[in-house]
């Protein structure tokens, strides 16, 4: 999207990209594609920092975004963009509602709470240590008293500030009548702190400021790590919205073009889409013929030819030359926006179901409370003077520290193992669901199959040898990460020359100089020949050099993956948007009984819902934008490496190393859940075993603290017993050839 910078003075556009802040400044989010280089990043940062009126800059490298807060009076947006361009980083402003609230805020708040908990827990422990040592070497009473107060002072920031999220979540859970693990946590913190304060004020009885501070710190640490993984994932997903163009070229009746904001378009107007740009609206093709690449949304990796009158979806990229559209629906109401809305809604619906810990936690909290009340009642009857201390001791001993750690410890360990095996988990809770999955829905194109070159059917022209043509094609193809290019690049070839001056044309192909000759590799139109969907073409200035026919091939790891899943009782089905014949052949090759062809995004979503309605736990594996809604609604979703960004944004598992990771992840998830159950049993056993002593008033606080640490340590060590199975040996490339 190369927009003239001057355009960004138009109020209609500025409204879309500038968000006003309460402090009178404005905020803009820029997409900067060039952010991969650290030097570039610093360069851009320094240039922006030096501009007058810039208040703050935040770069998110994963999302290729820069958030700038500045004073619009002193610095027009145009100057900001011009400065970026001067630094070699062309920046494109993004719609502010699309970019959402600043993602870093939650993470920053969590980091602050973690630091406060860490620093003051350390202080509290130091003061408590003095008191514990007092048990060995008697401490004079004044000093002991002083240190009890110091413990209180250092625990205040931890309990009053750092632990705040627990109270908030607990309250929210109670209000929604779904109390989760936060309820016992918050209750334990509040009760123990209150009791310790009371004892510090009375000057007698036990205090637990160190245990409570450490407890908060450890739980916050677990949550922070989880939050950080999610934030990183969201950054990746943010890139999905960037495909929607903000600008459009309106064609007037006299044929002249005017660049306007995409929102300004009105149905019935005519829009010009230059080659390589994305359509700013849903529309009807007004040009004679055009080819568009809708791979961002459909996952269909080949460009499709259209004739006048065909519908073209917003976000589709014009390939092989420009095209004109008649506006049918604007961006806001376009099919892409509708797809996104459906996806977001599906995700929200799942979010409500959420945490599996809730019932276990609920039982746990009621038991502890009942026990505390019973203890209190007993001692009030026997010896009222000891009632208070004994009740507090019960609460401390029964404090769900190990219980609260059980899940984060297991999940953190599993995620680390999985990422080493090429499975990236973006939503930790998915591991739980994965262990219980009993139905899997697979997309076909790009997920179970991949494009493949058929080397023996390569045709060459003008007397070029086949090997030479292949070498040239590979030289160009390996410069691109597009799945089709990668299929070519995989072809074994010797002595491949280095391509110079390489240029990737979106939706077209690769251009570059090989062996001193300028060449192009890409779709037929790009290479300068007629329409031909089934092959890539290699051409030089004089004309075509070779035709490289493509086939759809079942991925090498697909068969093993499906078999492994079926072996552990997961019913697999194929749900594809493709034609019935092709879907049937692939299903047969893979031994999948259930298959559905010609499925629209809503149909796929319906399949997920249907499975869930009968109590199944559904896994969806897909890579296209048309899978996004199903991915978002599924209990677990996975997407292979080359998936479109919209799909990646809604997937729980990313499989850059291929489908082999999926059965591996499933096995590991099962093991993790076993260990989690063990952890829970262990922490409950510890609590139940120690509580009688506490209730009898036999547990001094230092022993309770040691017990709490020991049981937490046991939980963490037990989690280390989760190990990944050896990666299954990938079978030799079995070629199930399917011509399309």
């Amino acid at each position: 999207m190369s927009a003239p910078v001057e355009l960004w003075t138009r109020p209609a556009l500025l409204d879309q990209v500038l968000r006003s802040r309460r402090d009178g400044r404005v905020e803009v989010v820029l997409r900067v594609a060039a952010l991969a280089q650290p030097r570039r990043v610093l360069q851009l940062e320094q240039v922006l920092h030096a501009l007058p009126g810039v208040a703050s800059i935040a770069l998110c490298i994963a999302a290729r975004r820069v958030r700038v807060v500045f004073d619009a009076e002193r610095l027009p947006l145009t100057q900001l963009l011009a400065a970026c361009a001067r630094a070699g980083c062309v920046a494109q402003p993004l719609q502010h509602d699309a970019s959402g609230a600043a993602p870093g805020i939650a993470l920053n708040a969590s980091l602050k709470r973690l630091a406060v908990a860490g620093i003051f827990a350390m202080q509290a422990m130091m003061f408590a240590l003095v008191l514990y040592l007092g048990a060995v070497n008697p401490l004079d009473p004044t000093t002991a008293h002083l240190f009890r107060w110091l413990g209180l002072v250092s625990a205040i920031p931890v309990v009053g500030y750092a632990a705040w999220p627990f109270y908030r979540e607990a309250l929210a859970g109670m209000r929604a009548r779904r109390p989760g693990i936060d309820v016992p946590v918050a209750l334990a913190i509040a009760c123990i702190f209150a009791a310790s304060v009371a004892n510090a004020l009375r000057g007698s009885g036990e205090i637990y400021f160190d245990s409570i501070s450490m407890f908060v710190f450890v739980l916050l640490l677990g949550r922070h790590l989880e939050l950080r993984a999610q934030a990183r994932h969201r950054a990746d997903g943010d890139a999905a919205t960037d495909a929607l163009p903000l600008l459009a070229q309106r064609r007037h009746a006299d044929g002249t073009l005017e660049t306007v904001a995409a929102v300004e378009l009105v149905p019935g107007e005519r829009v010009h889409v230059p080659e390589g740009d994305a359509a700013p609206c849903d529309g009807v093709l007004a040009s004679e013929r055009a080819r568009v690449d809708a791979s961002r949304w459909s996952g269909e990796s080949r460009a499709v030819g259209h004739a006048r009158g065909d519908r073209i979806a917003a976000g589709s990229v014009a390939v092989d030359g420009p095209l004109d559209l008649r506006v049918e629906r604007t961006l806001a109401t376009s099919s892409v926006a509708a797809l996104e809305r459906m996806t977001a809604a599906a995700q929200r619906a799942r979010g409500l179901v959420g945490d599996d810990d809730a019932p276990a936690a609920r039982r746990f909290v009621w038991r502890v409370l009942a026990l505390a009340v019973a203890t209190c009642a007993f001692w009030l009857w026997r010896d009222p003077a000891r009632a208070f201390d004994a009740t507090v001791a019960v609460l401390v001993v029964a404090c769900p520290c190990a219980f609260g750690l059980a899940a984060p410890a297991v999940l953190t360990r599993s995620l680390a193992l999985l990422s080493r095996r090429g499975v990236l988990v973006t939503r930790a809770a998915a591991v739980r669901a994965l262990a219980r999955v009993d139905r899997a829905l697979f997309d076909k194109t790009g997920t179970l199959t991949e494009p493949a070159l058929q080397p023996d059917r390569v045709e060459t022209f003008r007397g070029v040898a086949r090997e030479t043509a292949l070498r040239w094609a590979v030289a160009l193809a390996r410069e691109s990460s597009h799945p089709v290019a990668q299929a070519i690049a995989r072809v074994p070839a010797d002595g491949v020359p280095l391509a110079h001056g390489v240029e990737i044309v979106a939706g077209g192909g690769v251009r570059g100089v090989v062996d001193g000759r300028p060449m192009r590799l890409g779709h037929a139109g790009f290479a300068g020949t007629d329409c031909d969907d089934a092959a890539l073409w290699l051409a030089d200035a004089q004309g075509p050099l070779a035709r490289l026919p493509l086939a759809e091939r079942v991925r090498a790891d697909a068969s093993a993956c499906i078999k492994a899943l079926q072996a552990v009782g997961v019913a697999c089905a194929l749900v594809s948007g493709d034609a019935p014949t092709r879907v049937r052949t692939v299903a047969a090759a893979l031994g999948i009984a259930g298959w559905h062809a010609r499925q629209a995004p809503a149909d796929k979503l319906a399949h997920v819902r249907a499975g869930q309605a009968v109590g199944q736990v559904v896994l969806v594996v897909g890579d296209g934008g048309n899978d996004a809604a199903a991915l978002a609604a599924a209990d677990v979703s996975a997407t292979p490496g080359g998936a479109v960004e919209l799909a990646r944004a809604h997937a729980d598992l990313l499989l850059p190393a291929g489908l082999a990771g999926l059965p591996l992840a499933r096995a590991l998830a099962e093991r993790a859940m076993q260990v989690l159950a063990q952890n829970r049993r262990w922490s409950l056993a510890w609590n139940l075993g120690a509580v009688p002593f506490a209730a009898a008033g036999l547990v001094p606080p230092w022993l309770a603290a040691i017990g709490m640490s020991a049981s937490s340590l046991a939980v963490v060590l037990n989690s280390l017993r989760i190990r990944a199975a050896r990666a299954p040996h990938a079978p030799p490339m079995a070629l199930h050839e399917r011509t399309t």
């Binding site: 030097r39 360069q43 320094q46 920092h49 030096a50 070699g88 350390m122 240590l129 040592l133």
Partner: protein
């Protein structure tokens, strides 16, 4: 590199990335002035130290009133602390801060005032101590309080100047070195105040404060400044970024958590409360976390380039400095354990330890920093032979010194534990004192060579050593 150059030229001059040539020269002059001052104090302070070393073997040598051990010893320690190491590290800190912030110095005048104040404090302190005016036997703070106040003023002036420089940095991020430098300055301002205020300096309170001050002066003044220097000089020399920036950030903040209560362990088995001592021991063990993290970070940055130590003497000095940091800090933790402390504390072993940290770590870091950065500032390299001579003399000297005192200190401690007469332990120590003198001579000789090298890097004829920045590795060419 071409890209980097472009980036600099595209920044508008208002908050320019680097200063004009004149401002660069100004920074170079300031760095030079600090280095020359520091070199003077190094020569003076270690000459006194050498004299002291021989007084162990020949107590009657030069026994005039002004040359007694009791007067010279604090002169030696205070001058190498506040004269040499502080001034040298502040000089390097100015260069590191200005360069890593990609900006110019806030005020050259303030930097000069700071240097004057540091020097006035050191001169006045030396004279006062030799005349017998001091503040009791409070180790490392023997200077009378008005003189200490002058030193404090120098700190305030410097931190003001550095903070104002950082405030005008060119990039959003404050580089890790500056965090260490500013953290060290702020902390030192606090402990200096704590150590000066008189109200609670009585009896055991004085003892506790003494331990607190002594340890924090080393741990929160010299250590952060030297680490900050490492974080800048090592990547600079290797022409390769630090291995893990995140690890460095983590180590910095963990340091802040663990350090505060460390001092008490200097007084194990003293009448201070047992619990205070135990707490200090536990904090010492906790300190291992940032120490190991930091050292691993430096060593991993050098990975694969160890052969470069031979080619690049700045790197050799920095490498020994990192090893000194690792070994010295670990040794400090081990020493803090009660059973070992029983044998070693109050013996010459502690003197060996303090030379391992102050010399093997801090001083080598300073030298590495000066050899790495001063040529970049002045454009003049020292001679290859001079630097090599300095390195080997200093390294062999300090090794002999530390090893002989470590063995000797252990012998001494065991003698005491066995209840032998005190004079027996003195007789047993004699050969080790002799070796200590030999090590001391080598170290002092190396300082003379260093002075010569500084002269060539600043005022004199530049030498034939290559640029401190090493060639990037072969892989970069692709």
């Amino acid at each position: 590199m071409a890209v980097a150059a472009q980036s600099l030229s595209s920044v508008p001059p208002s908050r320019a990335a680097t200063g004009s040539p004149e401002e660069d020269r100004e920074l170079s002059r300031i760095f030079t002035a600090y280095t020359i001052s520091a070199t003077f104090w190094l020569l003076f302070g270690t000459a006194v130290g050498l004299l002291l070393a021989f007084k162990f073997g020949a107590p009657d040598f030069w026994a005039a009133k002004y040359l007694t051990f009791g007067r010279l010893r604090p002169i030696h320690t205070n001058d190498v602390f506040y004269g040499f190491a502080s001034i040298a590290l502040v000089g390097c800190a100015y260069y590191v801060t200005v360069r890593s912030c990609g900006t110019r110095l806030y005020s050259a005048t303030l930097a000069r005032i700071g240097l004057w104040l540091f020097n006035i404090a050191a001169v006045a302190g030396t004279i006062a101590l030799d005349l017998g005016y001091n503040w009791g036997d409070l180790e490392y703070r023997e200077w009378p309080w008005p003189i200490r106040l002058v030193f404090f003023a120098a700190l305030v002036v410097t931190v003001w100047n550095l903070l104002a420089t950082i405030a005008r940095r060119a990039s959003k991020d404050i580089y890790l070195s500056n965090w260490y430098i500013i953290g060290g300055f702020l902390w030192t301002c606090v402990i200096c105040l704590v150590a000066i205020l008189p109200w609670y300096q009585k009896g055991l309170g004085q003892v506790a404060i003494s331990g607190y001050f002594m340890h924090n002066a080393v741990g929160m003044w010299f250590t952060p400044l030297a680490l900050g220097l490492f974080y800048y000089a090592i990547p600079k020399v290797l022409n390769r970024p630090i291995y893990s920036y995140a690890l460095g950030v983590l180590a910095f903040w963990t340091n802040l958590i663990f350090y505060p209560m460390l001092g008490g362990h200097h007084f194990l088995f003293s009448p201070l409360p047992w619990w205070l001592q135990t707490t200090a021991i536990i904090c010492s063990v906790g300190m291992l976390v940032p120490v190991l993290g930091g050292s691993a970070n430096y060593l991993l940055t050098m990975r694969g380039r160890y052969h470069g130590r031979i080619e690049s003497y700045p790197l050799a000095f920095l490498f020994i400095g990192v090893l000194g940091y690792l070994i010295g800090s670990t040794q400090g933790t081990v020493e803090a354990l009660r059973s070992l402390q029983a044998a070693w504390h109050f013996t010459s072993f502690t003197v060996g330890h303090s030379h391992l940290t102050m010399y093997g770590f801090v001083t080598f870091a300073v030298w590495g920093g000066i050899y790495a950065l001063l040529p970049l500032a002045t454009g003049k390299n020292p001679g290859r032979f001079g630097v090599a001579l300095h390195f080997w003399l200093a390294l062999v000297g300090v090794s002999i010194y530390v090893i002989s005192l470590s063995i000797g200190g252990t012998v001494q401690g065991l003698d005491w534990i066995r209840g032998k007469p005190f004079i027996q332990s003195v007789i047993d120590m004699e050969p080790y004192y002799l070796w200590r003198g030999v090590g001391g001579i080598l170290m002092f000789l190396s300082h003379i060579v260093f002075a010569w090298n500084v002269w060539r890097m600043t005022k004199g004829q530049p030498g034939n050593a290559p640029s401190p920045i090493m060639e990037p590795e072969g892989e970069a060419a692709a």
